[in-house]
Amino acid sequence: MPVETKAQSKHRLEHVEMRQIVKRFPGVLANSKVDFDVRAGEVHALLGENGAGKSTLMRQLYGLYKPDEGEIIIDGNPVVFHSPADAIRAGIGMIHQHFMLVPTLTVAENVILGLTSKHEPILDLDTVSQKILELSRSYGLKVDPAAFVWQLSVGEQQRVEIIKALYRGASLIILDEPTAVLTPQEVTDLFATLKHMVKEGHALVFISHKLHEVMEISDRVTVLRDGQVIGTRPAKEMTRNDLVKMMVGREMKQIAPQPIRSGPVRLKIENLHTMGDRGTEMLRGINLDIHGGEIVGLAGVSGNGQRELAECLSGLRKVTAGRIELDQMDITSLPLKNRVESGLSYIPEERMRDGAIREFSVQENLFLQDHASPQFTRGIFLDFPRMEAFASKMIREFTVKTPSLDTPVKNLSGGNIQKLIMARELARHPKVLIAAQPTRGVDIGATEYIHERLLMQRDAGTAILLISEDLDEIRTLSDRIAIIYEGNIIGIVDRNEATVEQIGLMMAGISMEEAVHHSA
């Protein structure tokens, strides 16, 4: 074989242990004497709230950080990893919370990135592609080796990441929140792959905030809280409530929103058309009214125009035909800035890229839109004392875990960055709120909190468009549910009017009447 794979030659890892791991960051004790182990043929889930130290623990196992104290033991032998290269050589792979692929390269090129070819400096991409196809067949990971990464959906990109790890011969694979970005169907496919991998003798570490997933896929569960292990248990012995209690130290409330009388139409969308990035028409005449005091959930299989609709509404994408009104004011051709000033808030889906500036401090990020509002300025000068007071209040209210207001956002845990952006958008008390996947990657405590805030915002008279791939979330929160299919709203139902099956059918493009008929 022309490219070094080591996959077959390497021995299988039987037992990987982390003992008494301590890891500190400036102002934070991220892991405190953590014991963790995983064996061949099992899925060990790692649970905990945002900032509990899950990613940090796993980054040490993958050689990205060095533990301050404690040791890593593989099959009885202590090891020290100086870099991921060492971990990979030892048979460990990691799929990160945020993908690490090069968009301008093909799948095959990404897979062999950093490996040496046998015929150095010549790449033998044909054989590589061959091998990728083999892996893809045997693990049910559908990918096209010749496709460019930028053309792929998130789900496909993740499959590439998994193949990349398998190609390098990983027998222990760490999956950091792999399902956060997937559609329900993609999650089902991923789980089939994972189960297959376990049967083959792989060891898996699985991180997720979704408890039902953890219960479904894992053999053992370890719960972290504030950097400490609360306990490690067999998954079978645990109920959902047990897990919640271990994670947050209390039980969750059940959210059952009371419908309220909704007010006049605040957001009016008429016959909206737009083109997608690849030049095809992605919205084909959307009509939708959202009243003040109402949450409309937008359900649909991803890629049916949800993103484009959100971008048109926020002013980031040009509308080719149609009309958007906010409180009877035509905003169709207003730039984003003026829409924001008119009371529109937008929580973007790709929040890490579009919602925050990683090098800016927590405080600076809280004022991305409002830094020029008279409340926080004197002339062209920023009024720091006022900003600080307001920022500390937001951090407290939204329980964003950060050492200080001056900490650069890149040092926060994934979920805490999400909370920060949420805090910023909701604190503005918008008239209309577009929330795209608002609880993606957020722990259950914070999810509960965000749901409550969305409902409070609704009760305060905001018109909310909730775009989510989580049908449960949509059904819990929405007063009405609109189903989008190929750029059209093919049906709008009241919360209690439709069953999950009917919504599912409509998401597949079956009209409302037929859907009702089908499931009847």
Binding site: R24, F25, P26, G27, V28, L29, D68, S314, L316, P335, L336, K337, R339, V340, Y346, P348, R353, D354, G355, A356, I357, R358, E359, F360, S361, Q363, E364, F367, L368, Q369, H371, A372, T377, I380, F381, L382, F384, M387, E388, S404, L405, D406, P408
Partner: protein, 377 residues
């Protein structure tokens, strides 16, 4: 390149007490880097059969060994700082301004022309209007590539370099034509230089017998102004946001191309001021070679100062001093000037590299503090 977090952040900068160990390390590590660079330079000098100790004695002594040397260093530091301030603004917006040379010329041309039109004005008025007009001339030279970038996505590295050539040729044309010194014409020498400016347009000299002039004070004041501008105003905040993450800035409603163009325009203005100060403060007329390469060296000084306007002050003085020393070294020990440039490059490389070390050290130190507080509590 130094990272962007060199700037003080709101509260921490104002309330935390000074940690002397950190201060010492922050000075010691760059100095060590500098020593290593000079050692490598010494080896190169030995190969050229030059005694490195003699050479370095001249290099350092030239600028920092006497009061007049220091004054000369400050004279050179002034345009470096002005250009560097503009570079801080542009680079913070992730806009690469290579057009300093052309922008200096634009400012200098204005400074050679404007005072001649209003000879009778009182000095303070003449000087201040010339400074403003020179700033405007430079900013036009920055605005054009800025506009091209904003509207047509023309790469600013390319366009600013081209603007340099245009400015250089324009100057050639003007100082041989409309702006040529009538005295030279009368004497039949036709020297390529402009008419000597009336004395009321000269920037006051700070130290007698030297060229050090009030431009240096203007530059330092402006450094503070730029610092306040970048970290205390809404416009500066947006410029930094655009530079760090244009996507998130766009989503926040910030007009990204506008702020990129604005930062280039301002950078041009500051370089234009450097041209004005050279004309009004040093030469009192426009002549060939007026830019002195400050448009490029200013970039290095700004980077060396961590792209921080206040950091650019000592960095400019250091480089001003090195330029003076290099001049003298070239004359005293016959070292080719390209070697001196190479040594200066080494210094930049090592000091910037070492600053990364001192940051790591600072991070470790904070962690130790956490450990201690854990042990105590």
């Amino acid at each position: 390149m130094p990272s962007n977090d060199a700037a003080p952040k709101g509260r921490a900068a104002r309330s935390s007490s000074i940690d002397w160990r950190t201060v010492v390390v922050n000075i010691a590590i760059p100095l060590a880097g500098m020593l290593i660079a000079l050692t490598i330079g010494a080896i190169l000098l030995v190969f050229l059969n030059v005694n490195p100790f003699d050479a370095y004695a001249v290099l350092m002594g030239g600028a920092f060994g006497s009061w007049t040397g220091l004054a000369q260093a400050l004279v050179k530091a002034t345009p470096l700082l002005l250009v560097g301030l503009g570079i801080c603004i542009a680079f913070r917006a992730s806009v690469i301004n290579i057009g300093g040379e052309g922008q200096i010329i634009a400012g200098a041309l204005m400074a050679a022309w404007w005072p001649l039109q209003f000879r009778s004005w009182p000095g303070w008025l003449l000087i201040s209007t010339t400074l403003i007009m020179g700033f405007l001339a430079g900013s036009i030279w920055g605005f054009i590539p800025g506009l091209l970038k904003a509207r047509l996505k023309v790469n600013e590295i390319l366009s600013t370099v081209m603007m340099n050539s245009i400015a250089a040729q324009l100057m050639n044309l003007l100082i041989r034509g409309p702006l040529i010194d009538p005295a030279g014409v009368a004497a039949g020498t036709y020297l390529a230089q402009s008419e000597r400016l009336p004395a009321n347009a000269w920037l006051p000299r700070l130290v007698p017998q030297t060229l050090l002039n009030a431009g240096a004070i203007v530059a330092v004041i402006l450094a503070v102004v730029v610092y306040i501008f970048l970290w205390r105003t809404t416009i500066g905040y947006r410029i930094r946001a655009v530079g760090l993450n244009p996507d998130a800035s766009r989503y926040a409603g910030i007009n990204v191309p506008f702020y990129q163009a604005l930062s280039l325009t301002l950078a041009g203005g500051f370089a234009g001021l450097a041209g004005v100060v050279e004309v009004l403060g040093v030469q009192h007329r426009l002549l060939e070679g007026i830019t002195g390469g400050y448009g490029f060296t200013g970039i290095v000084a700004a980077l060396f100062g961590g792209l921080h306007p206040l950091g650019a002050i000592p960095a400019s003085i250091l480089f001003g001093g090195l330029l003076v020393g290099a001049d003298k070294m070239q004359r005293a020990v016959q070292v080719p000037s390209s070697l001196i440039t190479a040594i200066l490059g080494l210094v930049v490389l090592f000091v910037v590299g070492s600053s990364i070390w001192s940051k790591r050290w600072a991070a470790r130190r904070k962690i130790e503090a956490v450990k201690e507080s854990e042990a105590a509590g």
